[in-house]
């Protein structure tokens, strides 16, 4: 099912939860889409500047260079910067998979095995001028059972607020608890 929330900066985001089986859940957060007005504002600014330069220098290369730069910049932005959806797939006893899909369709995936996951927690952080909450996966330190070797932050580009994070946290913990209650067969 899908519910609407707000991100830390106030933009609307949507959380979709799917339960594939008793020990497998998928949680996807959809980020705010690319706004048409910001895109047209950026393009017009670049082209106005290029036209101003053209009027000053009488060189038509400036205009074609501006078009080229706008196109290349847009492609780079869509392929490397703008994240469309961030999802978390928790498979009990296998691991946690974190996927970010970009606006151009590219997907970047990381899979963390359950043996390396210590816990999933909500942390606070200072971001720019605010304090925000973020969800993160704590990885086990192989040498020290009590220690944490790495912290993997989740949903970094959509930055959901605490209410959304609590839902995700509860879903994850239900599955993570299963591995503690079920004893390992030797």
């Amino acid at each position: 099912e899908e519910r609407r929330y707000r991100s830390a900066s106030g933009a609307p985001i949507a959380l979709r939860r799917r339960q594939h089986s008793a020990s497998c859940r998928e949680l996807a957060v959809r980020c705010p889409r690319l706004q048409l007005r910001s895109l047209s504002a950026a393009t017009s600014a670049v082209w106005l500047a290029a036209y101003g330069l053209f009027v000053l220098s009488e060189n038509s290369m400036v205009l074609s260079a501006a078009i080229f730069i706008t196109l290349i910049g847009l492609i780079i932005y869509l392929h490397f910067v703008k994240i469309d959806q961030e999802s978390l797939l928790v498979i009990g006893s296998l691991g946690i998979q974190v996927t970010s899909s970009y606006a151009s369709g590219k997907e970047s995936t990381t899979f963390i095995e359950m043996g390396r996951v210590k816990d999933v927690v909500i942390n606070e952080a200072i971001h720019m001028q605010k304090v925000i909450y973020y969800l993160c996966i704590l990885l086990q330190d192989p040498g020290d059972p009590q220690g944490v070797s790495e912290v993997v932050p989740l949903f970094q580009s959509s930055k959901p607020r605490l209410d959304c994070l609590i839902e995700v946290y509860k879903s994850c913990q239900e599955i993570l608890e299963q591995r503690k209650t079920a004893p390992q067969s030797s």
Partner: protein, 576 residues
């Protein structure tokens, strides 16, 4: 408890039989490698499996039964399959059955010795057997450091990759062989091989032996005593071409060695060196053909002398400017004239030598250009050496200017201490107070004043020549950076990542397939390839890289004090 079954996607359409694979009890997962079809004799199957186990060191066993029925489920077949569980006792006995063309299979387990019959959830993970077999898993860096006490606590993924990779011998028999066992796996439609690869493997052995013989001859010649006498050995150590040639010789020795590469890293390194050498020589030959085509090298030689002349003339103009009133500063006339004339005489000598050499330049350049066929890196090193030779006079001037300036600074600092009544205590490495005689003080103060007022002139000469020298050093440094780049780039790994990205795996990714209630969870495991940045970082070839010896602070300090700077340090240089 959750039971994970890793099923190869190539066996989805296999006929009924029993499943063989490896059972990993710590993670409660079963990796299925192949399906053995009916009819078979259980004793022979067990014999075959123990042989496979002995060769591959992977504990392969019969894990369960697989039934693929085109019609409705047959009761007798299912009873027969259950009875098989008693023959091949394995705990738990996995039964997978597929009806018709349905995507959703039913999977159940039989536990004979379990205490409480709890309902186990089963996860069915499909994997592409050929890709997983050929792939090499690159674990994240933090787990790689603690492998000594984690031998049996290996990550689940690496256990799976390991199992499939080591069971190559299992995939050598297919169902057309006349053995007692008929298997289905990814090669079951006939073993694949490539004629070109086999031919190259056969041809590579004598080629390697020939290459080793040639290389031993060459290295014997290089190590002979004749080349070790003092002037020659000094020359070889200064020329970067010789270092580059030695480096490439080493590479050739690595490739032509007869030992087979033990593990993945060595194999990749050999392949990278081979491809890098090939591309280098190809680019060098391209460059050479371009240079010699329209006698461009003749033109180059013709323009070399005028360029050297032009540089010398520019230097002369610069010195004339310094001897006048440069940038409006007032110089000490006498010292100015002395230094200026001294340097002008040097330039005059240099121009005469160049003109003496000019008839031979074209021939020398022509033969030296031929050595570009040894590789683009060698050609670039030769270019860098030519630049060094042509700007030798700038280097000389820099040394003269630096020494003079350094002497002046030391003199000034020591006399400044005398001026204040102190002395440098060499024994205790500190400044102590000291009482001087009157005549010592008088002469000291006089010398101090003289040196102080002559400082701007010397400092200006030093500044100008240091800047010129730094310019030449930067140009040479850029060329060496390019050479390093060509040397250390792992081209084979990058091409492999581009074309066969499954062979370099950073991890896996799971995709959830269509589900049906009551049936086990179906997942597809795909290989997540390594990013280009980590490919380059992992498989970089080591080079005799040159990198700045000093930090910015110490460089500035050395420049201020007038010490001679050699900013690029090569790995393997003895520290002074």
């Amino acid at each position: 408890m959750v039971l994970k079954v890793f099923f190869p996607s190539c066996c989805s359409s296999a006929e009924s039989g029993i499943l063989i694979g490896r059972w990993i009890s710590e993670q409660n997962s079963a990796v299925i490698l192949a399906v053995v079809h009916f009819p078979f004799i259980p004793v022979q199957v067990k014999q075959y499996l123990s042989e496979v186990q002995r060769v591959t060191k992977v504990s392969v066993s019969v894990l369960g039964s697989w039934s693929n029925s085109k019609q409705e489920k047959e009761e007798s077949l299912s009873e027969f399959l259950e009875d098989l569980g008693t023959i091949f006792s394995h705990e738990p006995w996995i039964q997978i059955s597929k009806e018709g063309d349905s995507k959703f299979w039913s999977c159940s387990t039989l536990q004979k010795h379990s205490n409480s019959p709890k309902e186990e959830e089963i996860i069915l993970v499909y994997y592409d057997q050929r890709k997983v077999m050929l792939s090499h898993l690159h674990p994240p860096s933090d787990t790689a450091t603690s492998t000594d006490h984690q031998a049996d606590d290996a990550s689940e993924l690496s256990a799976i990759f390991d199992t499939v990779a080591k069971s190559r011998i299992l995939f050598m028999t297919d169902r057309y062989d006349d053995g007692p066992i008929k298997l289905t796996h990814w090669q079951s439609d006939g073993v694949e091989a490539s004629i070109i690869v086999e031919l190259m493997k056969q041809a590579s052995v004598p080629a390697c032996m020939l290459l080793t013989f040639l290389l031993s001859l060459i290295s014997g010649v290089c190590r002979s005593r004749v080349l070790k006498f003092w002037p020659l050995s000094f020359l070889w150590s200064k020329l970067s071409t010789c270092e580059q040639l030695g480096h490439r010789l080493q590479h050739l020795q690595v490739i032509s060695s007869n030992k087979k590469a033990e593990n993945q890293t060595q194999l990749m390194r050999k392949a990278n060196i081979f491809v890098s050498l090939l591309i280098d020589v190809a680019l060098g030959i391209l460059l050479m053909s371009w240079l010699y085509r329209k006698n461009r090298i003749g033109h180059l030689a013709d323009t070399l002398i005028p360029v050297a002349d032009h540089v010398a003339e520019e230097l002369q103009d610069l010195l004339q400017w310094l001897m006048g009133a440069p940038a409006g500063l007032k110089m000490n006339r006498a010292l100015d004239q002395v230094l200026g004339r001294f340097f002008l005489y040097h330039i005059h000598l240099w121009i005469s030598y160049i003109h003496l050499m000019s008839p031979f330049i074209e021939m020398i350049l022509w033969y030296v250009g031929l050595s570009a066929c040894l590789g683009l890196t060698v050609a670039l090193c030769i270019l860098s050496d030519i630049i060094a030779l042509l700007t030798f006079h700038i280097y000389c001037f820099y040394v003269y200017g630096a020494r003079l300036y350094c002497l002046k600074i030391y003199g000034l600092s020591s006399l400044w201490r005398l001026f204040r009544g102190k002395k440098w205590n060499v024994l205790r490495q500190r400044v102590d107070s000291c009482s001087y005689d009157l005549d010592q003080l008088f002469i000291g103060t006089l010398l101090f004043t003289i040196l102080l007022f002559l400082l701007p002139t010397t400092a200006l000469y030093y500044l100008v020549f240091t800047l010129l020298r730094l310019l030449v050093v930067i140009v040479q440094g850029l060329i060496h950076l390019l050479v390093d780049l060509i040397d250390s780039l792992p081209l084979y790994s990058i091409i492999l990542r581009l074309c066969r990205s499954y062979r370099l795996a950073a991890g896996v990714k799971f995709r959830v397939l269509e589900q049906q209630d009551g049936k086990p969870l179906r997942l597809l495991m795909q290989i997540n390839p390594l990013s280009y940045g980590s490919v380059v970082q992992t498989y970089r070839l080591p080079t005799y890289s040159c990198y700045p010896k000093d930090s910015w602070a110490s460089l500035c300090k050395k420049l201020f004090l007038g010490e001679l700077i050699y900013p690029w340090k090569h790995k393997g240089d003895k520290q002074d």
